[in-house]
């Protein structure tokens, strides 16, 4: 119950393809994320599921049933809008009961289900309030209750936390994940916040310029990005520009700052191809240059020389900005910084495992 399938779906809005040839399988009861920068087509995709848009090409199927031409009110989806969209002329109870009223559910049943839905979101004490008497977080939870009470095949969430303050946002992540576990329904969640996606998702689809870039679990996307865009967008990374020298068990890349060897990379790359080496800031180990022999300590390790540009102390971690021999800037993070490893202007040896490097084709990154 509740699987959603996109078959080569395109949606043209104005002059551009807001969604371009999207093929996607969302499993039943999955907490599925659509992630991407603004204007990437993720909200359009969500609205296609809700039925506010009909696809110009391709089909959308719920549990194998073609829904492409079904109007929104006949699809059993429950949507949570970015601005909550609570009806200001109805109290909380009427807002939540609305979908049941449209479905002609009996009074007793309606009463029971509204109470249950409000309990799930911890809003049972506010049933008589009007929406304008609620805080943003409370409105958000009422909107969630309204979407859940109709027992939809798919719950759609359009940047539901983006209007909340930072602390509440983090709190709500856990709550929504709990609710997903409790009700066991498919949820499609749109966000541009990669931390939200990483911390909550069963699976994530990363979108860019209307196209699907990569789909996978948070772990897969973070450790095995298939493009520089995904590596950069999810978690942030250092991209070292170079040329692919050798292909095999280990990939060897020649960069201006030195040779980098990598365990991982996108398949089907040819020798001589311009590439990026993606190295996460937390994979870089900082050693004093004096202790370095100039040769990597083992075959499984890379080493590059760098000079400290600036240091930012954030309590639980310390962020280093370092300049490589070719002038490129890389970031490194030291967690639990009890003692300072270096001062600004120090020369350091950056060590990182070949396992931590992913070689990716070069592409334009600005979006």
């Amino acid at each position: 119950m509740g699987s959603v399938k996109f078959e080569s779906v395109s949606k043209i809005l104005g002059q551009s393809r807001a969604v371009n040839n999207l093929t996607l399988d969302i499993g039943a009861e999955e907490l599925f994320f659509l992630l991407g920068p603004s204007g990437c087509g993720k909200t359009t995709t969500l609205r296609l599921v809700a039925g506010f848009y009909t696809p110009d090409e391709g089909r959308i199927l719920f549990d194998g049933q073609d829904q492409s031409r079904v109007p929104p009110h006949k699809r059993n989806t429950g949507m949570v809008f970015q601005n909550y969209a609570l009806w200001p002329h109805m109290d909380v109870r009427s807002n939540v009961a609305y979908g049941l009223k449209m479905r002609h559910v009996s009074e007793a049943e309606k009463e029971k289900r509204v109470r249950h839905a409000l309990e799930i979101v911890h809003m049972q004490a506010y049933a008589e309030r009007m929406p304008n008497q609620l805080s943003g977080g409370q409105q958000q939870r009422v909107a969630l209750a309204r979407a859940l009470v109709i027992e939809p095949d798919v719950v759609l969430l359009d940047e539901p936390l983006s209007n909340l303050d930072a602390k509440l946002r983090v709190e709500m992540r856990t709550q929504i994940k709990d609710i997903h576990r409790k009700i066991g329904r498919t949820m499609i969640y749109v966000t541009h916040d990669q931390a939200e996606a990483l911390s909550m998702a069963d699976r994530i689809a990363v979108m860019r310029r209307g196209r699907l870039v990569q789909t996978g679990t948070p772990h897969e996307l973070y450790t095995r990005p298939e493009s520089a865009f995904v590596a950069e967008f999810i978690g942030g990374t250092n991209l070292l520009r170079g040329t692919l020298e050798e292909v095999g068990d280990l990939l060897t890349v020649k960069t201006q700052a030195g040779i980098v060897r990598a365990k991982n990379g996108v398949k089907r790359m040819a020798r001589g191809e311009p590439v990026f080496c993606s190295v996460r800031p937390e994979s870089l180990r900082l050693k004093p240059a004096a202790e370095s022999s100039g040769i990597p300590p083992s075959d499984a390790t890379n080493e590059l020389l760098a000079e400290v540009q600036s240091i930012m102390y954030l309590g639980d971690n310390e962020q280093y900005s370092l300049r490589l021999a070719d002038g490129a800037i890389v970031r490194a993070v030291e967690y639990n910084p009890t003692t300072r490893k270096a001062q600004v202007g120090d020369r350091l040896a950056l060590q990182f495992d070949t396992q931590a490097v992913v070689v990716l084709p070069q592409e334009e990154l600005s979006d």
Binding site: A50, T77, F81, A85, W87, P88, Y98, R103, R146
Partner: protein, 393 residues
Amino acid sequence: MTSWLRRYDLNPANAAVLIFLWVFFIVFMLYPLGYVFTNAFFTAEGFSLVFMKLMFTSPNYTIILANSVNLGLAVTLFTTLLSLPLALLLVRYNFPGKELLNGLILIPMVLPPFVGAIGMRQLLARFGSINLLLLEMGVISQPIDWLGGGSFWGVVILEALHLYPIMYLNLAAALANVDPSLEEAAKNMGANSFKLFSTVTFPLMLPGYFAGAVIVFIWAFTDLGAPLVFEYREVVAVQIFNMVTDLHQNPMGYAFVVAVIALRVWVVYARVVRSATLAVKEKDFVQAAVAVGAGELRVVLVHVLPNVLSPAIVIATLYVGRVILIESALSFLGVGVPASTPTWGGILGDGRSYIDTAWWIAFFPGLAILVTVLGVNLLGDWVRDYLDPRIQT
């Protein structure tokens, strides 16, 4: 004098404007209204409610009152039925010719109401075009009385055709202000088009609808032109008018006419100035003035009034057009200013008899009225743009 100015943060220029405004209001609104009220509530023996009592108890007057209320309600209903589909069509859908239709819809606002009345009479009278055509074609043998005996429905239809743009503008603005996501949420919850409209869209439009309905109701209630054209005499406005013309030497008649015009203008005025005041009242600088101990009167006069002046002035310029229309309607009907004074409405009325042989006699004064009213409206638009601080760069 100068210390007084300084005490209220005024320079001579805006002090002059304030004084002018007060004089204007006192002379043209408070004095006539005061006149009307003293005549309505005072007899030779002093204060008395005898006229008021008479109005609500004497069967002659209660029928008239009821007729006017019914007329107002019927017109409000008709304008609603006419404007709601129009507003939905024009706000929600895109189609070729939309801009043109949008402009055409508003034309009745710049036409004197009696123009429509004459046209309708030509069409629907006992020996009007439709009956003559049907008789000619042999469809009917006796002319049909389309307007019904009392002409009540004729007045209603005419008023509705004249006033629906006001309703339309209010409904269209209200509809355009409805947050689309609120409607999407309802669709998402399973509401079909009808349920969507009745449970979400229309309730959200209600404030705008009531605003339009109140104006239309009062307008229809106080309108004189249309009932006179249709010779439907049993309404309040015509009764006032009759009493006024019966008593030529009684200056009170003029006060009544002013009162009727003032009542109409006031509705719009009050609405605009009220909303402007509500907006200004919440501004920080007003709150700051209150916080440092400014008195209520001072806040109203010095901080609020200057900031609501510009919409008031705009309305005033727009209403010059309205008043020209009302005056021309009265002159056309042979009332209002004395016949010896030439007015466009008067010439238009005189030319009506010669429309078949000398169309220009009626045509050009009509055109002149149209151009003047349009011109004044454009001036009003320009003044609004000029005074709007958001547009100034």
